[in-house]
């Protein structure tokens, strides 16, 4: 049983032939013979299945009653003989992405750039507690350490081999970026082992797992967010960013800033700020329903991203707090 009858039915195979009062229909290698008490009348109906008449026109065309026409069409459709002469409704994916980008830009300006974290870093970088800089690097590392959770989920992106190839390249380019940033913590006396045994802020987990969920269940939306996370199309090729500028202003030790700078430079060299555009340029189309879903999730993504920065400020601007959050048990408390 096919879906609703085609809007503008058209015979899928070559035109039917009539021989010895029997109608021959051909589909692929198979030939079907239809016997009908009035083959000429049926041939007239089959001849009208040229994709220019809709079902209502066919029903009232005169040769058969409306119900008979529907029955004949249903039988033809169930046997695979009908096609529909209509065009799908969808927009070029890049057109949609550029509008989604606009939504994300607005959210970024309204929600992310207005956080205390970014306000303080851009306006008073020398007054920002040094732990906030370290905390940002730590949470950034936690994000990179878990990046495989979302990047790997789109490696098998279905339906378009070019998008899949680009995502595989992106994965390779991002692979082990956490190790680059890891070097920044050595001057702070934090070993790689310390980092791996520490845990991120809940707001970082929230961002990471939301992305991982989207990558698995709504990959097109995930693809739209990649460029925001990578600094956006405005990101220069030389790899400067507002955080690194603030680090420089604040006079932070180059041993700490250097690895972060190296990471930014590598990302910029790959042009990752434009990845979303490049992917959507290759993706053929986005439907109206998908577009609505993508738009609907932009503000949630922006909130998660805002919280990521907000919480870095809230946690590490209290300088008494230890740099690393761990899950280690206090062995001394275990008693018999």
């Amino acid at each position: 049983m096919a879906p609703h009858l085609p809007s503008f039915p058209v015979l899928a195979g070559p035109p039917p032939r009539i021989s010895d009062d029997r109608i021959e229909l051909i589909l692929g290698d198979t030939e079907f013979t239809v016997e009908h008490p009035d083959p000429a009348r049926l041939m007239a109906l089959l001849g009208a299945l040229d994709g220019t008449h809709d079902v209502e026109q066919l029903r009232s065309s005169g040769g058969f009653s409306g119900d008979e026409v529907t029955e004949i069409l249903s039988q033809l459709d169930a046997s695979g003989f009908l096609d529909d002469n209509i065009n799908p409704a969808a927009r070029p994916a890049i057109d949609v992405l550029l509008e989604i980008e606009d939504e994300l830009n607005r959210g970024f300006a309204d929600q992310v750039e207005t956080t205390t974290f970014w306000q303080e870093l851009t306006e008073r970088p020398t007054l920002v507690p040094v732990n906030v800089y370290y905390g940002m690097a730590i949470e950034n590392w936690h994000f990179l350490y878990r990046e495989h959770l979302f990047d790997s989920a789109v490696l098998s992106f279905p339906g378009d081999h070019r998008v899949r190839a680009m995502l595989n390249d992106f994965y390779i380019e991002e692979h082990r970026h956490d190790d680059i940033v890891l070097k920044a913590f050595m001057p702070l006396g934090i070993t790689p082992e310390d980092m791996r045994s520490s845990r991120p802020l809940p707001s970082t987990t929230a961002l990471v797992n939301s992305l991982a969920w989207w990558a698995r269940t709504d990959p097109v939306f995930f693809l739209a967010t990649i460029s925001v996370l990578e600094g956006g199309p405005a990101q220069g090729r030389e790899g400067s960013d507002s955080f690194l500028d603030a680090c420089t202003e604040a006079g932070l030790d180059e041993d700490f800033v250097g690895p972060l700078r190296e990471h930014a430079r590598i990302n910029a060299g790959h042009g990752h700020g434009s990845v979303s555009r490049e992917l959507f340029d290759v993706l053929p189309a986005v439907t109206v329903a998908t577009e609505a879903r993508l738009r609907g999730q932009c503000s949630l993504f922006n909130e998660l991203y805002r919280n990521f920065y907000n919480e870095i400020w809230r946690y590490w601007s209290v300088t008494e707090r230890p740099l690393l959050r761990t899950v280690e048990h206090d062995a001394g408390k275990v008693t018999k």
Binding site: P3, G28, D84, A109, S274, P284
Partner: protein, 327 residues
């Protein structure tokens, strides 16, 4: 490296331009930028900005038209401020869901018509001829058990996929309707002293391939899953009737036959074969490459089904005793 996107840049709707002799003020959503014009190129710059209001020209066309300007640099700066988008592109070619479903169905019919040549020893033929052995009938019930026992696991990933509300509900209902069908088959097999829960049994490779294919499609290619479902849900009344007749001919107990016959009736009664059609009816667009992949998935599933028809005969019908596939 020169940016290639947007290909035919145009100002976003809402970008306001205020042109002065030596500067242009661009505002957008409370932000924007001020461009100072060089006296020698001021006219060209104003023309370029006017052209970007209209859109339609490619970056190359703009560059050749405004040779005195650093067009790429200007476009880069405007883009960095979020002021540019692309002129609307042509409607993408592809298929509606209905068109895609009909193609998939034709592919299924033509694949099935040929699959018999490749897998000639079909259980169905032996059922229709009334020559199936008892071990083959029991083997069929065991493989049927594997199919329904795997169903929740392989379908579950599809429930997580983002989709429109109605499609998600349709998949959810389908999932629920498939739940616990393994109990019917367990009941059936228990009448012969076979308990696949207590003593685990392995499925035939083709049975496992069908279920793993469904699972992979559910997790990675929801369109492919939606299309492949009808292959397994297609009503087979002739097959089912012959199965019952053969069971009776070989004196298999009614308690063995009844749950299997009942399950077949359940599937046909609930017209499960409509699930693909109903889901595709809600799909607005399928790209040409997705169409190709859907047709591959459907024909592959059809061939796995044909392979299973032969493997059941080859494995379970090879000896007089029942060869249980214990690990």
């Amino acid at each position: 490296m020169t940016a290639s996107l947007p290909r035919r840049p145009v100002f976003r709707p809402g970008v306001a331009l205020h042109m002065e002799p030596r500067e242009v003020d661009l505002t957008y959503r409370g932000g924007g930028c001020l461009i100072e014009l060089d006296e020698a190129t001021a006219d060209q710059a104003r023309d370029l900005l006017s052209a970007l209001r209209l859109g339609g020209s490619t970056r190359e066309e703009l560059k050749s038209q405004y040779r005195d300007l650093e067009v790429e640099t200007i476009l880069g700066q405007l883009d960095a401020q979020g002021l540019l988008t692309d002129s609307p592109g042509a409607a993408p070619s592809g298929f509606t869901g209905g068109q895609a479903y009909r193609r998939a169905r034709r592919r299924y019919l033509t694949t099935m018509a040929k699959a018999g040549e490749f897998y000639p020893r079909q259980l169905s033929e032996r059922l229709f001829q009334g020559t199936a052995a008892q071990t083959e009938l029991i083997g069929y019930a065991i493989e049927y058990y594997h199919v329904v026992a795997h169903c929740p696991r392989v379908l579950a990933p599809a429930l997580a996929q983002a989709d429109d509300h109605k499609s998600m509900m349709m998949l959810r209902e389908f999932y629920q309707s498939e739940m616990n069908h393994d109990r019917m088959l367990i009941r059936s097999l228990s009448t012969l002293g076979i308990d696949p829960v207590k003593s685990a049994l392995l499925p035939l490779p083709s049975t496992f391939a069908m279920m793993s294919s469904l699972g992979v499609l559910a997790a990675t290619f929801p369109l492919g899953l939606k299309a492949a479902l009808f292959v397994l849900e297609e009503p087979q009344p002739e097959f089912n009737e012959s199965f019952v007749k053969n069971c009776k001919r070989l004196d298999l107990p009614d308690a063995f036959i009844a749950p299997i016959a009942q399950h077949s009736d359940v599937n046909e009664g609930e017209s499960h074969d409509d699930i693909s059609a109903d889901l595709f009816d809600r799909i607005e667009y399928v790209s040409p490459e997705e169409m190709q992949e859907i047709e591959k998935a459907v024909s592959d599933m059809a061939e796995q089904l044909a392979a299973a028809g032969q493997e059941i005969t080859d494995w379970y019908g090879a000896e007089r005793r029942l060869r249980l596939r214990t690990p």
